[in-house]
Symmetry: D2
Subunit: 316 residues, 4 copies
């Protein structure tokens, strides 16, 4: 529990996406109204505008990497805070309208990221089929089933690649299941809120930040990483993203082990604030896997307290 | 000129994409047969299979960042080599069939990356329109024009976002031009070939590599960056990509200033080979902007020669 | 002025040494009783025992390097504090009893460090003379003059190498002056006191510490230096000293630019306290040359305050 | 065996010093003529002049630290090479003329370094005695015994502190033995020759160098240490020495694990040659303790060969 009061939660829709699966993991969702949004941008804009109290969006996939829309939307504009993370195994089925046979399939639709993750299955079994991109895996299924919210003419394809739950919910038949090339694929989702109440430190926490370099800061990324290294802080994610100004201008989006309330993390962030053009704090929150952060004795909270006491004693 | 003998060049199609614009910059394309492919994967697979002699694919956009399909396809499978880079300004137009008025537009189609780059224009002018994803900017225009190669029912949308050239080529009308949010947006394309003849060093070169870490190598990325730092080598691109094995397992795709035939680059790559699980060399090639590499005297070729001579003299 | 109340100051005697010259630079010496000691050890022992309130001892010579007796005595035992530094140009004369001619000189006495610094002069002019070591330059002169405090039989040599002042004071004749091989040689002396009142920060300060490494701390000296580098702190002196336990076990005695009351210095010292077995603080005090410390904007006191305020604001 | 043809070996005399003990460990000394010199400088000058073929001098004491005269003489002037090292346990006796009793002793003589190492014994037993400095421990004994080469009037003291061997050789009586404060004290001596035949690599080697920094090289010592760190090279000794030009101008004298013929050492030295004003190579030679150098697989000779082969293969 984050302690957040959440009446309305948005998610990357439509219903049936992996974002909704992630959302269902959260206790906050039990009593709240859940609202699908057609893009990460619109979900986070609604959150910033106060229309919803929190949003669930994908941030990283173990096969495809970071989700640019989420990384960029969090990195710019009104500050938001990640307050929780959820990990969802990514499994796909090939779904059709009842009665459709494999040989009837001439075109297949799904979200481009899903398409990339079933490449091997398609090459082995449906290499002759056309690909029809969809805005989400769920949308491809919903449209195929002929749902009321169809966004384009569903007659153009005969099969959808989606999560099993959404296929079942819309009366589709599963021709093949677990068709992902990587059976261990997972996507990490984050629960995002407006700044307010930071989740308490649990000893198994993560902190997300975005670092923008000063043009005149020599040493670049190496210098930034040293700020973590001297405080014994491990990074679990690091991605460069263009700042959009010109080729070769990057900011760095990263997750580090530990909580803002850990002395070593606070000191590292202050150190980065001094040498960066901007440090954007995206939140400290419990790790989804609950694994305690390993800290060497030299960088423990106790070691920080002892150093503080030692320094104070020098002043007699 | 790369000195490559190129009879057939593939590119990320269909005709009219920015990849074709990039391809047209190359002298090799003048006499060669040019062939569109429906994806980066299929273009590079055709190259690996010997069906074509080279391929032009996008590798990095100044707004959206690295192109995962290209980065991943180059990082795995049979080795390929980048032999040239091309930079293409990215400008978009809103194209319609002759006679269509702004108020007639209820849905707009384009590639998701293009859609991301015109977000501001859409929000200001067409916020009520539906978005229909397409496999490329060109495909959205071709389909709208009702071309023979239409991939799905074009009746679903009334406007396409594409390059001006392709709109004109297919008889579409431009309702608004230069609609990108970032007027300086560019995409970097690479000309890829099978290993063979490496482009000669020009003094204004770039080298691309992918680094896979050893699990037991302490210090992680910091240790890898130090291999560059001690040889005075600057990085112009750095991206982490998941290896696909599990969350938090990354490889690093990067461009450095200099050529494999520069002593400092050769030594750095050998140093990385020793500490990495794998170093994948993607090629040394001239920079598109022709800007000479700045090298401090301590790391110049002459300094390397002097050090070699000094060491030899210690042996009497 | 250090603000110290000093009734009795010791110095490395006997009278006439360069330590006394250094002592005479201090305003504290004007009203105080000054007492010569026969060694650095005995002077600092008297200070620790409360017999004197301060002591002046040499710490570093621009030609010979650090003074081991001072470095080691400060590094071990009851803590003491450096409260000021004095720089004394080192010039030597060849002094004889009135009437002695160059050709009468068969043996020459002085302190071994002084002997090392006039090596060139001796080789050129008195290469056939024997060397008689003395416990100080002044002692060689005093004994030659036949003073009451002679420590050994003065008949053994006919010339002393000492400071001009002591030669004059004891009625000796100067046969040659400014005979040092290095005309710019200086020795740095320190005024040492018991812990108490730390000199205020002036903007042109130095801090002296001794670092003892943990056996299990990887990276050794490199890791310690990084603690300074990430805070933009420059070192003006660095010496390794054996800990006395076995060959290859060192502690590091060093001076850094800045005062304990500078935020970057305090943070660096706390960082070192965490990773070292022991950090021995030897004091923060004004530089003898009054040169203001150069600090990059990223590491200024203001930058530290801004980072603190930024972090606090994250907590709403 | 170094393979050196040695007819005449010098050592820091007079006879009976620890330098002679070190010399006696060398097989080269068995057939050679051995010659005492009154200082490190004169011994090394004789070696440079070709008067002797090798010299044994002390370089480092486990209690007192580096021997400045040796470090400085090796660092400047005509190049010399260390070809072997010898470790000698340092034990002292209090020696007197037969019949002298403890209560008869009013003054004690020895070399200042020895005096520093028996400080505790003296304080406990002879705190009232005067100290008479001598040019060597052996000289204090020889003079006390009334030898023909006495350098000053021996009547001035009644006891000498020296090695037991020299006391016995000169008919002195031992009043107390093993009087050193540190029972594990050792001194490391080196056998120095003119450049010529470098000792072969044994897998248990050491390399000594002196590094002079460029004024304009940023990062200072940290940058130099990184040249070792990236090649996995451990340092077993590091000392800063003033260059003599001004306070704060240092060169670094150091020993590293490994031989010039190890690929990682050769590469590190070339790297240092590029970034330093001067690298002075003092020799590669077997470790006295015979302990094999620990090398991580990433930095082994085999890893260097594999990296070389990998790079060559990139050129097809």
């Amino acid at each position: 529990m984050t302690g957040l009061i959440v009446h309305r939660i948005g998610f990357l829709g439509p219903r049936g996406t992996f974002s909704e699966v992630a959302l269902r993991q959260r206790p906050e969702a039990e009593q709240a109204q859940v609202l699908p949004y057609t893009s990460v941008d619109t979900a986070l804009a609604a959150l910033r505008a106060g229309e919803i109290d929190a949003a669930v969006v994908p941030i990283e996939n173990s096969v495809e990497g970071g989700v640019p829309a989420t990384l960029d939307s969090l990195a710019h504009g009104e500050p938001l805070r990640v307050v929780a993370e959820m990990i969802v195994p990514i499994t796909f089925v090939l779904a059709v309208r009842p009665g459709t046979r494999a040989q009837d399939i001439g075109a297949i639709s799904t979200h481009p990221h899903a398409w990339a993750q079933v490449r091997g299955f398609i090459a082995a079994n449906y290499s002759a089929c056309r690909y029809v991109p969809a805005t989400s895996t769920a949308a491809s299924a919903v449209d195929l089933a002929g749902g009321a919210h169809a966004w384009h003419d569903a007659t153009a394809y005969q099969a959808a690649i989606c999560h099993e739950m959404v296929a079942r919910d819309h009366g589709l038949e599963v021709l093949a299941d677990d068709i992902g090339d990587n059976k261990d694929a997972v996507t990490r989702f984050v629960l995002v809120a407006r700044p307010g109440r930071m989740p308490a430190a649990t000893g198994a926490d993560k902190t997300s930040v975005v670092l923008f370099q000063k043009i005149d800061y020599p040493g670049g990324l190496l210098g930034l990483l040293e700020q973590f290294a001297v405080r014994g802080i491990n990074l679990s994610r690091l991605e460069s993203r263009p700042t959009g100004e010109s080729l070769g201008q990057y900011c760095f989006s990263l997750d580090l082990d530990g909580h803002l309330h850990d002395a070593r993390v606070a000191e590292a962030l202050k150190g980065l604030h001094r040498v960066c053009a901007q440090v954007r704090f995206l939140g400290s929150y419990p790790r989804a896997d609950g694994a305690p952060v390993a800290v060497s004795p030299a960088h423990s909270g106790r070691s920080y307290e002892e150093a503080e006491a030692w320094l104070a004693a020098l002043e007699e």
